[in-house]
């Protein structure tokens, strides 16, 4: 009877183990989406925060801090900020600020009751800095008033044209979406015809041995790390583009397209070739027996009947191009602008994530995850297209 329990155990065991994939996908969805949607649902902080430098004693709204902490959080609904601190012999510095919470323009949200003794500056969006000359050189006394950033509008995120994440805190990813789409489409237009020519040639015209050699070479092409493609592009393709078109810098959409086209070649060739090989010999024979030449048969019958596989290959190629990161960073120029010419610097979604993740802080970092979500949705759409095509193929 032990055997029976073991059998039962393994049945559940395998079922549990297989759930890992589902759980993993769920975890990916939850983590990436939770982080990526954060900027759109909540403010960065519940209330105003004060960061104090070089001030020994400070009264905020009547509460006196003798050992001033680095950071003071005000109540969420604070309408007034009253700052007082002793200043050398002159007595007391006083700043009274009215908070106009309904004001949308962050710069106008703080209204100073009378001309403050301090120098008011706006080092970055949502930050107001009050500065007084220091009692010692280089020890300027400063109070940074950090306003909470309101939830970011998803429309401005997707449709926004400006990406100024650090100082202005403007996060518009439309140029990057366009960059990704253009670079991938360009790579497809350049790479797919070559890939199909190669695949058809390998499937229909090459003898076994040369075909096996060509397949080995193409697998090798697939195995070269993407960083190498990127560097090859930077040293060979970028100067070539610069010289051919006589432009200031060769780091352009065109260079990215060429490198990506090279990188999707093996994907498209491999899948297209295997689906071409799968086209039944009897169809080719029928075509030949009707007096079509070998070339005509290859184009009209083999390519035609392998089309769902070819399309699946192309879509996989697109998803490789969309997801490619390291190579693109090196050759694309990465300027977050909307491009209208292939000879302009362009930036993709993936490049933005990989470039800025190390440096980003606060909302900027969350926004990079939001870009990940955009990318994710694009890829999911492509994937469902593949799935649908697969299903279509099974029917035929």
């Amino acid at each position: 009877m032990n055997r029976k329990y073991a059998d039962r155990f393994f049945q559940y065991f395998f079922r549990m183990v297989s759930l890992v994939s589902v759980l993993a996908l769920g975890a990916i969805l939850i983590f990436v989406f939770a982080q990526g949607l954060m900027p759109f649902v909540g403010a960065t902080a519940p209330g105003i925060r004060l960061v104090v430098q070089n001030i020994g004693e400070l009264a905020v709204n009547g509460r006196v801090y003798r050992n001033v902490p680095d950071s003071i959080s005000l109540e969420e609904d604070a309408r007034f900020i009253s700052l007082r601190f002793p200043s050398g012999d002159a007595g007391e510095e006083v700043v009274d600020i009215e908070v106009n919470a309904d004001e949308r323009d962050a710069r106008k949200r703080l209204v100073f009751a009378r001309n403050p003794s301090a120098k008011v500056s706006y080092p970055e969006a949502y930050v107001v800095t009050l500065g007084w000359p220091g009692l010692m050189a280089g020890r300027d006394r400063k109070i940074h008033i950090i306003l909470p950033e309101p939830p970011y509008s998803p429309v401005e995120f997707i449709g926004g044209m400006q990406w100024q994440p650090v100082r202005d805190k403007v996060f518009g990813v439309f140029p990057m979406i366009a960059g990704t789409v253009l670079a991938s489409l360009g790579a497809i237009f350049l790479g797919v015809p070559v890939a199909l020519l190669c695949a058809l040639f390998m499937a229909e015209f090459l003898a076994d041995r040369p075909a096996a050699f060509a397949r080995g070479a193409i697998e090798l092409l697939a195995g070269i790390p993407s960083v190498v493609y990127g560097f090859f592009g930077l040293m060979v393709i970028v100067p070539a583009v610069k010289n051919v078109f006589g432009i200031a810098a060769g780091n352009t959409l065109l260079s990215a397209v060429v490198v990506l086209a090279l990188m999707i070649l093996p994907t498209v060739i491999t899948i297209a070739e295997s689906s071409m090989r799968a086209v039944s010999l009897s169809l080719k024979e029928a075509s030949l027996s009707l007096g079509a030449s070998k070339m005509q048969t290859a184009w009209h019958i083999t390519l035609f009947h392998a089309h769902s596989g070819v399309i699946a290959g192309i879509i996989l190629g697109i998803s490789r191009a969309v997801g490619e990161t390291m190579a693109v960073i090196l050759v694309a120029g990465n300027s977050p602008q909307l491009v209208f010419s292939p000879l302009e610097s362009v930036r993709t979604l993936t490049a933005t994530i990989a470039m800025e993740m190390g440096y980003a802080s606060g909302r900027h970092s969350e926004m990079l995850f939001s870009i990940g979500v955009v990318l994710f949705i694009m890829i999911l759409a492509l994937n469902s297209l593949i799935l649908r095509l697969r299903r279509g193929m099974d029917v035929v």
Binding site: R49, V51, V52, Q53, P69, D70, S71, P123, E124, V127, T129, H144, I146, W163, Q164, P165, V166, R167, L234, M235, V238, P239, K242, I247, A248, A249, G250, N251, I329, L330, G333, N334, S335, P336, Q337, E344, S345, R347, A354, M355, E356, M357, G358, Y359, A360, S361, G362, H364, S365
Partner: protein
């Protein structure tokens, strides 16, 4: 097959428990092996690597792990993931106020670089600002030495310490659209070395013969000129830690700020003490 699988599982568990055992927190005892995790700015990394190398001779049981990720990461994770965070820029207001111990360990100049074949040898701060904001788009507008042609502007990515410092020092509010953004010193150097029309900026400590450094306002980019204050493009290398850091990491920090550490700084950068 079953035996094979079972063996594989057991092996995996054994392996992981060994790993887990090995990672146990080092006790306070003097010579227990200890690993200090350091992370942050890529610009500070070459200096930190030299520190780590020298420190390995001073205290062989202490290992310094360096994660060159970026200033933002270094500041964000100082005191948590990294005992010591590295930054190549001043902290932004929002990053301040988290109870960090902030120490400037060195000063680094920012060299404005062009291709070796470029006849331009000097630019004023204003000209640099014009180039980076797009007011001047052609070498003819700034060179005065017969060089012409569109300028290929190369910058660092948003959030980079080098970029932050450079933009602040040169007074650049908004980068010209179409400027290339590179993630790293090496990519900028390689790009400029093969593009006669390009201009970029890198850490003075990473400067080599593959590119040419411009004088800024007539002052050559050199450590001596940074020290005497005549070369304006300079920024601090900052190390961040928390008060409750491990004794070993505190000791390492003191050592870097002490004479031995500062002697190492002197090799390519400007010491602070």
């Amino acid at each position: 097959m079953k035996r094979f699988l079972v063996a594989a599982f057991v092996g995996a568990f054994a392996l992981s428990s060994v790993f887990a055992g090995g990672s146990g927190e080092a006790a306070g005892a003097q010579n227990t092996p200890y690993t200090i995790e350091v992370g942050g700015s890529t610009s500070v990394t070459p200096l930190m690597e030299k520190f780590a190398e020298a420190y390995a001779k001073v205290r062989p049981h202490v290992k310094v792990n360096i994660n060159p990720t970026g200033s933002g990461d270094g500041i964000k994770n100082a005191g948590t993931l990294y005992q010591i965070g590295m930054s190549s820029r001043e902290l932004t207001p929002a990053e301040q106020g988290q109870g960090f111990r902030v120490e400037t360990v060195a000063i680094d100049g920012i060299a404005v670089i062009v291709n070796s074949a470029n006849p331009v040898g000097s630019l004023s701060v204003e000209q640099i600002r014009d180039i980076y904001t797009g007011a001047a788009g052609d070498w003819g507008q700034v060179s005065g030495s017969g060089k012409s042609g569109k300028i290929a502007v190369v910058s660092r990515e948003a959030g980079s310490g080098t970029r932050g410092a450079f933009e602040e020092l040169a007074g650049i509010k908004k980068l010209v659209a179409g400027a290339n953004e590179s993630t790293s010193t090496g990519a900028i150097k390689a790009g400029i070395a093969q593009n006669a029309d390009a201009i970029g900026y890198i850490s003075l400590g990473s400067l080599d013969a593959s590119v040419k450094a411009l004088a800024v306002g007539g002052v050559a980019a050199s450590s001596a000129n940074v020290v005497n204050g005549s070369y304006k493009l300079a920024r601090p290398f900052i190390l961040l830690s928390k008060a409750d850091a491990h004794a070993e990491s505190k000791a390492f920090l003191e050592w870097m700020l002490g004479p031995e550490g500062q002697a190492i700084v002197k090799t390519s950068w400007i010491p602070v003490k």
